[in-house]
């Protein structure tokens, strides 16, 4: 496998082993918009690519040529498509999964994924490959390493969710045109919560990790051992509360809390005791001295009040309704609008207007 840059290699036009292919120049018949001033290497490789496509040739040297193009332009989706079809043509008819050609391809993709982390095509090609290898476990490990380079990369996380959804059984009821859902592997999920823990230990504000937790616990079937949903709810509430107590101003954790409550139809008021001390300045609210594991208190260094807790408590009171509770909520929103979260001033004022309107409606109905 070549690790040289294309610059070190002779042009295809000068290579005797490519003499039999007629290079085809790019069509350019008309004054072009936004033309690219290609390098000689790119022109050369794509000229030969057009020639190969015209012949319909699918041979080992096509793998070399398409790799060369992809290294120069990883977004060249036609080169990816042709490469995949060439691979299929070269693979043996049985024991596809253990073919050395496929193994070499996966190894090459391990390298290219890191080089071109933000290119869609790298990841879509990988999905096609794992549908052939049917070795999703190895991929989970690859993703873990990939996230070390970029812990919030959208493609990397999407790929993990796709893998689990496609190969993970139970929740894998999402039909996938090329994935297929036979050979499901329940074990695939075993390490997921630990994996999320590790990611959040590195950065508790990593929203991708919080999203992944929601997907694993609530979004894609029920894991073995998680059948008791009441117990799972309790576990998750404890988990998110503890994380909030360590870093209160973390919108990702609060969004997770809200998501869990909404998903399980648990009223927000069920966690009001926990949220309340976070919604006031230090000292303004009396915190019990006893350690309450259900409702961990803000740490001594926490920045209070916490905007997300203020918002949460206002929601609790608004939902409870009535004049007194609504006024409590309005007070909170006013403080957010004028002091603690001024960029969203208009939003908080909108909430005040809406709550007052709702209150009028309640009175009229009563």
């Amino acid at each position: 496998m070549s690790t040289e840059t294309p610059d070190d290699e002779p042009l295809y036009a000068n290579r005797s082993d490519w003499k039999d292919v007629e290079p085809l120049e790019q069509y350019e018949d008309i004054n072009p918009l936004a033309p690219i001033f290609y390098t000689e290497e790119y022109k050369d490789a794509t000229n030969y690519f057009r020639g190969i496509v015209k012949r319909g040739e699918k041979s080992p040297r096509v793998l070399d040529l398409t790799e060369n193009i992809i290294r120069q332009n990883p977004a060249h989706y036609s080169a990816w498509q042709y490469r995949y079809e060439t691979l299929l043509a070269l693979l043996p008819s049985d024991n596809v999964a253990s073919s050395p050609i496929l193994e070499a391809e996966v190894r090459l993709m391990d390298e290219l994924a890191v080089l071109f982390l933000k290119t869609y095509q790298v990841w879509h090609h990988r999905r096609l490959l794992v549908a052939l290898t049917r070795k999703p476990k190895r991929e989970l490990d690859f993703i873990r390493k990939g996230l070390e380079a970029d812990a919030k990369n959208y493609h990397t996380w999407s790929y993990r969710q796709w893998l689990l959804g496609t190969f993970g059984g139970r929740g894998a009821n999402v039909t996938d045109a090329e994935g297929g859902v036979e050979d499901v592997d329940e074990d695939l999920w075993i390490g997921e919560l630990d994996f999320v823990d590790t990611m959040l230990a590195q950065d508790v504000r990593n929203n991708s990790a919080w999203h992944h937790r929601f997907f694993v616990v609530w979004g894609c079937g029920v894991r073995e051992g998680d059948e008791d949903r009441e117990r799972v709810l309790k576990r998750e509430l404890t988990y998110v509360k503890q994380n909030i107590s360590l870093a209160p101003s973390n919108p990702s954790a609060w969004n997770y809390l809200r998501g869990v409550l909404t998903h399980t139809r648990t009223p927000f008021s069920a966690v009001a005791d926990f949220a309340l001390p976070y919604a006031y300045p230090r000292g303004a609210y009396h915190v019990k001295d006893v350690v309450d594991l259900e409702n961990p208190s803000p740490s001594d260094t926490a920045q209070l009040p916490c905007v997300q807790a203020m918002e949460f408590m206002a929601d609790v009171w608004e939902r409870e309704g009535g004049e007194e509770k609504t006024e409590q909520a309005v007070k909170m929103w006013t403080s957010l609008a004028n002091e603690h979260d001024t960029i969203r001033k208009k939003y908080w004022e909108h909430r005040i207007r809406e709550a007052h309107l709702a209150l009028k409606g309640q009175k009229r109905a009563a």
Partner: protein
Amino acid sequence: MADQLPRLNRIAHVGHCKRCLSGLPAAKTEVDASRLALAFYCIGSLDLLGVLETSVPEGEREEWRAWLWNQQTQGKYGSGFRPSPFITAHRRSPEPDQVEYTDYDTPHIIMTYTALLSLGILRDDFSTLDRPGIVKFLRACQRADGSFSIVPGSNESDLRTLYCAFAISSMLDDWSGINIPSALACIASCRTHEGGYGQEPRCEALGGTTYTALASLALLSAHTGQAEHLTQDEKDATIRWLIQNHNRAGGFCGRTGKDADACYCFWCGAALKILGAEDLVDTNALASFLASCQYRFGGISKAPGETSDPYHTYLSLAALSMYQPSAEFAGAQAESWKFGPLDPLLNAKEDTAAWIRTHAPQKA
């Protein structure tokens, strides 16, 4: 805020777009597979800046139209527009004009959407548009799960491409290319616990794909006259999440807890406008943020200190077309911040959108 807005450097932004249209350096080779979209961002920026007719001679605009039409191709999956002739081989001998594309040179759904917008901006009469061919092409792109692939047969599919299918159907006023129930199920499966939409089912909420989900639903509602696809609670949750992305920098981020990025001023801003929540945006802070994203040699970049590109330039100007700073805040520079109104559903100036809706559908 004591200090007022600096000037929006319109002349420099015009220069950036014109430079990109005239040619790109080899370092931009990655654009090869999406050149038409880049051309749209440039032409669209000139349209938003209101200089298309004054600063580009008619002869040149005629050439642009010709190049765009040159990307419309026909074949077994129907018709549409390709990104550029990057796979198309030069013909050595004279051949008939309409050569069918190969499997590796098919139309591309995002390019087809941006081509129709670009031609509308250039006030083309769409007389050479192969409407039945485009409907056939949309059909060829839709997958079993309701999503759409970028090109027929590809496994690259997500809410971006689904939006393109909806926008194209809306522009043609012909929805027969879409299996609507299946597409709606796909949109619903992308909704997340945060209230936004991920790029594909199971994925994290993202500003861009939340826009494409909401715009798709609204385009469909406009067609069927059926108003609501979301409950009030769902809408409230989405508005809350979108407004949470309006951060202290004044701009919007695309995901919870990330930095503000100029493009999300459009994606989140337009999504809020579609939900009728445009009054909730701090327009002065938004303009300040975008002012700080201006690149000194023209164009607008994703964040302060980065280099500009047509994508962030167009989306920033589109955001400003919806969210104007107050006259008081813009002060002496107010004139430089003025824009005409934008249609948030098609992502085009209102008069451009009206032109497309008049001229793109099949004449009875």
